[in-house]
């Protein structure tokens, strides 16, 4: 039973001008137009295409965040995913969350759902981290095909053409694997209104990171500024790092 997990992130729309909050604690998100991360759209499209070509049976869309992310999952469902999973994280926890926690969540879900593939966007346009796919693969000890511009399934293996600095690289990896979508992988389809209406009937399961055995992200400690390199070395020696 071939199942694909697709990660979708709700981000501030790329055309909106970002404003820093007056208290400098972050950016203004209230009431601001959000949409699905463009690379996540491409990931969803690829998963749905694989299902249409009958390589896989089910596509599950996953998103981590507050209640609003269900809108993003709904769009993925309208594009052709079969069901959704909303991992609820809100408030300060959501602001502190980063690729490491997300990858832990995805790794746990991939095992739980017995997924053959995890397809993610290569990076999110709000933080440009480009880490979640790679970390997820490492946690699962699965092969990874990142910056994919072409994906072909060949029996138990996946042929991935990757966009790299020097041009294109073709690799063949065995499943289960993690893939991350790059720009030229495909052109995402529109989520049409009849599909949005049908998507309202598709299931979105709700859970918390704790349900998957993932801890809350550690509180971020303040950093320290030093004046000279000697100070830096002294501080690092003092706290046992070197």
């Amino acid at each position: 039973m071939s199942r694909v997990l697709v990660g979708v992130k709700r981000v501030i729309d790329y055309a909106v001008k970002i404003r820093v909050k007056p208290d400098h604690s972050g950016v203004v998100t209230d009431g601001v137009k959000h949409s699905m991360n463009p690379f996540c759209e491409i990931a969803v499209e690829e998963a749905v295409k694989l299902k249409e070509k009958k390589f896989i049976k089910e596509v599950v869309a996953v998103s981590c965040g507050p209640t609003q992310v269900t809108e993003t999952i709904r769009t993925a469902l309208a594009m052709g995913c079969d069901r959704g999973i909303h991992v609820e994280v809100s408030g300060k926890d959501y602001e502190a969350m980063g690729p490491l926690q997300i990858s832990k969540i995805f790794a746990a879900l991939a095992k739980k759902e017995e997924a053959s593939l995890v397809i993610l966007g290569k990076q999110a346009i709000d933080d440009d981290c480009n880490q979640t796919g790679q970390m997820t693969a490492a946690l699962l000890d699965w092969p990874q095909g990142t910056f994919a511009s072409e994906v072909t399934i060949d029996g138990e293996k996946v042929k991935v053409v990757r966009e790299i600095d020097g041009g294109l690289e073709t690799i063949k990896i065995s499943m289960p694997a993690v893939l991350t979508a790059d720009l030229r992988l495909n052109t995402p389809r529109y989520a049409t209104l009849p599909n949005i209406m049908k998507a309202k009937k598709k299931k979105i399961a709700n859970m918390k990171p704790a349900d998957l055995g993932v801890d809350e992200p550690p509180t971020r400690l303040a950093g320290v500024k030093v004046e000279t390199v000697d100070d830096l070395v002294a501080k690092l020696k003092a706290n046992g790092t070197i």
Partner: protein, 607 residues
């Protein structure tokens, strides 16, 4: 060569125009328009064999437009359904990506309609956070300010009203509507009116997606969806594109004057806390406009936590000088000492623009027709001297709902036409406070059409409105179509606008960026031209291309041709903020604004 499609009555130009380039002077003009409303697809070889069948669904009532009117109508319908324990499917489509993203207004809300709709609006958390505490009115000269007393009884007196961020208020209305079970679909624009065989309105179809810029189908092409209803409400706001078609189809404007409009431009600023006076309302007339150009400014101090002011400038679109740029008038007004002192040291965080109605009572069309009705600013219930239209828009939506409800839930609607014709809505309007209000102020705006312009109008208001409350037995007429008011460029003097200083005043493109507007680039421009050759031949030749100046988003640019002599019109459709000014003010009436792919347009946040 006229299209005989039953579902559209756009004037379609003969497909002889469907050639690449038209010879004009010594050079070949590149084609601008490729939209299927001008070049029908059934005659286009690139569309042969493409599946054009649409998925259709049925609702009891379909509402076009998620603004105050549309949402109030939806809410009222569901409230009645709940009271009387009846089932009712209400679907609302909205072209913005989220409810409130295309909403722009001053705004001073008169809570009269809200009190009727939700008497418990405060408990429900309606974002009316700023009661008006101070009301100032000024006549500005270039350097000075003449205060005008805001006597109670004058239409602009704001006692009891709230300064709101209308986008947030509309968003809240959307949440209330969803809670009541209204199906709201943001991101889907109503692109076409559908008709029954008997000519009554059957519903609407949403926009197609996946058409390339040259009008050909892309791989991701998908047809829009049809939503059928017993009655369809059109609440597209000022100068809606479907309403424009319905006026012609059902002859709704035969007994009223043509609508007249203004353009309103708005910015949000975070100012220095020391200058912040929450609850203060400031209006001005005069500088920088001359006495014969209708317009003025507003500046409202909000009270929502941070020192935020909403400010803007309105210019009547019956202005005569083609060199006038409403955007640049707005920018230079901010340099007036009285305004600059509030804004100095502040930061601009938002920008937007929208056309608004100025016609009032004289310009109200018939609002009901078989299968549908018009609500809100679309027919135009704005009280111009009060500068408020939200309360009347909401009330019109509520009255429409109350007239519709018994008909759509009746066992046997006993209707002559397949789409229900419900003239009771119009009767209810005429008996309501909307009508009384609009009648009382009907002569104020037209009174500006005299030699003394602004001053004549103010004297008229003082005498006839303040004293007589509009009971004078005559009704003044407006000047006619706004698009016919421009004088040829050679009869007018160009206006010397100051360069933006980057602190108080800004250039157009950085302003447009702040509106967050965007559209899918690879789609036919939605600013369609009935005839591609007219902009250069008429607009540029006679009026020096006024669209370059009245568009608040820099959509229209006259650029030199790549080869040969002469200019061509370049349409930057992606910048469009959906204000509708071009469709209104184009002296050739050649521009027909149609709806682009849903989700496109501005991303206003509480504007």
């Amino acid at each position: 060569c006229l299209s005989l499609s039953e579902s559209t009555t756009h004037r379609i130009i003969c497909t002889a125009h469907y050639t690449w380039g038209r010879n004009c002077s010594s050079a070949v003009m590149p084609r601008i328009t490729s939209h299927y409303t001008i070049f029908p697809r059934d005659k286009d070889p690139r569309w042969e064999g493409v599946e054009m069948e649409r998925f259709a669904d049925e609702a009891d009532v379909v509402i076009v437009g998620g603004g105050p009117a549309g949402l109030s109508a939806a809410i009222r319908l569901k409230q009645l359904a709940k009271e009387q324990e009846k089932e009712l499917r209400v679907c609302l489509v909205e072209k913005a990506s989220q409810i409130g993203a295309h909403t722009l207004s001053g705004a001073c809300l008169e809570p009269s309609a809200l009190n009727e709709l939700f008497p418990d609006w405060k408990e429900r958390g309606a974002p009316l956070n700023t009661p008006v505490t101070e009301d100032l009115f000024s006549i500005l000269t270039e350097k000075y300010r003449i205060p005008v007393p805001m006597l109670p009884g004058l239409p602009m007196n704001n006692h009891g009203n709230y300064i709101v961020r209308l986008g947030h208020f509309v968003h809240w209305l959307g949440e209330q509507a969803e809670e009541l079970g209204v199906e709201i679909y943001p991101g889907y624009a109503a692109a076409e009116v559908l008709f029954h065989e008997d000519g009554s309105v059957k519903g609407i179809a949403t926009n197609d997606v996946g058409i390339a810029k040259d009008g050909s189908p892309k791989d991701v092409f998908e047809r829009g969806m049809e939503l059928h209803a017993k009655v369809t409400l059109f609440g597209e706001g000022c100068h809606g594109h479907l309403a424009k078609q319905l006026y012609r189809q059902f002859n709704l404007r035969e007994n009223c004057e043509p609508q007249t409009y203004a353009i309103g431009l708005k910015e949000l600023w975070v100012i220095d806390e020391k200058k912040w006076r929450p609850g203060r309302v400031e209006h001005s007339v005069g500088w920088p406009l001359n006495r014969n150009t209708y317009g003025g400014s507003f500046l409202y101090h909000l009270n929502e936590g941070e020192p935020l002011v909403a400010l803007g400038f309105v210019v009547g679109l019956d202005y005569t000088n083609p060199y006038l740029s409403p955007f640049r008038e707005f920018q230079r007004w901010k340099h007036h000492p009285f305004v600059a002192k509030t804004l100095e040291g502040g930061d601009r965080i938002a920008y937007g623009a929208r056309a608004l109605n100025e016609g009032g009572y004289q310009c109200l069309p018939k609002v009901t027709f078989p299968g549908g009705m018009l609500i809100g600013c679309s027919p135009g219930f704005m009280n111009v001297p009060k500068i408020k239209g939200t309360h009347t828009a909401m009330k019109s939506g509520m009255l429409a709902a109350e007239a519709i409800f018994p008909k759509v839930t009746a066992e046997d609607p006993a209707s002559e036409t397949a789409g229900l014709h419900i003239p009771e809505y119009e009767d209810n309007l005429k008996k309501s406070w909307i009508w009384k209000e609009l009648y009382a102020v009907r002569n104020i705006r037209p009174s500006f059409h005299n030699y003394f312009g602004l001053y004549g109008g103010m004297i008229y208001t003082g005498v006839f409105y303040w004293i007589l409350r509009g009971k004078e037995p005559w009704t003044l007429k407006h000047a006619g179509l706004d698009s016919a008011q421009l004088k040829p460029a050679k009869e007018c003097t160009p206006i010397e606008y100051p360069k933006p200083d980057g602190k108080l005043s800004f250039d157009l493109l950085s302003s447009v960026a702040l509106s967050g507007t965007n559209h899918e680039g690879d789609q036919p421009p939605h600013l369609t031209l009935k005839d591609d050759s007219i902009p250069v031949a008429n607009n540029l030749a006679i009026y020096d291309g006024p669209e370059q100046r009245f568009c608040p988003a820099g959509v229209y640019e006259y650029v030199p041709l790549e080869t040969g002599e002469g200019m061509r019109l370049q349409i930057n459709a992606q910048n469009c903020v959906h204000c509708k000014t071009c469709d209104i003010k184009d002296p050739s009436q050649n521009i027909n604004w149609v709806v682009p792919e849903g989700s496109g347009g501005p991303a206003y946040n509480g504007l």
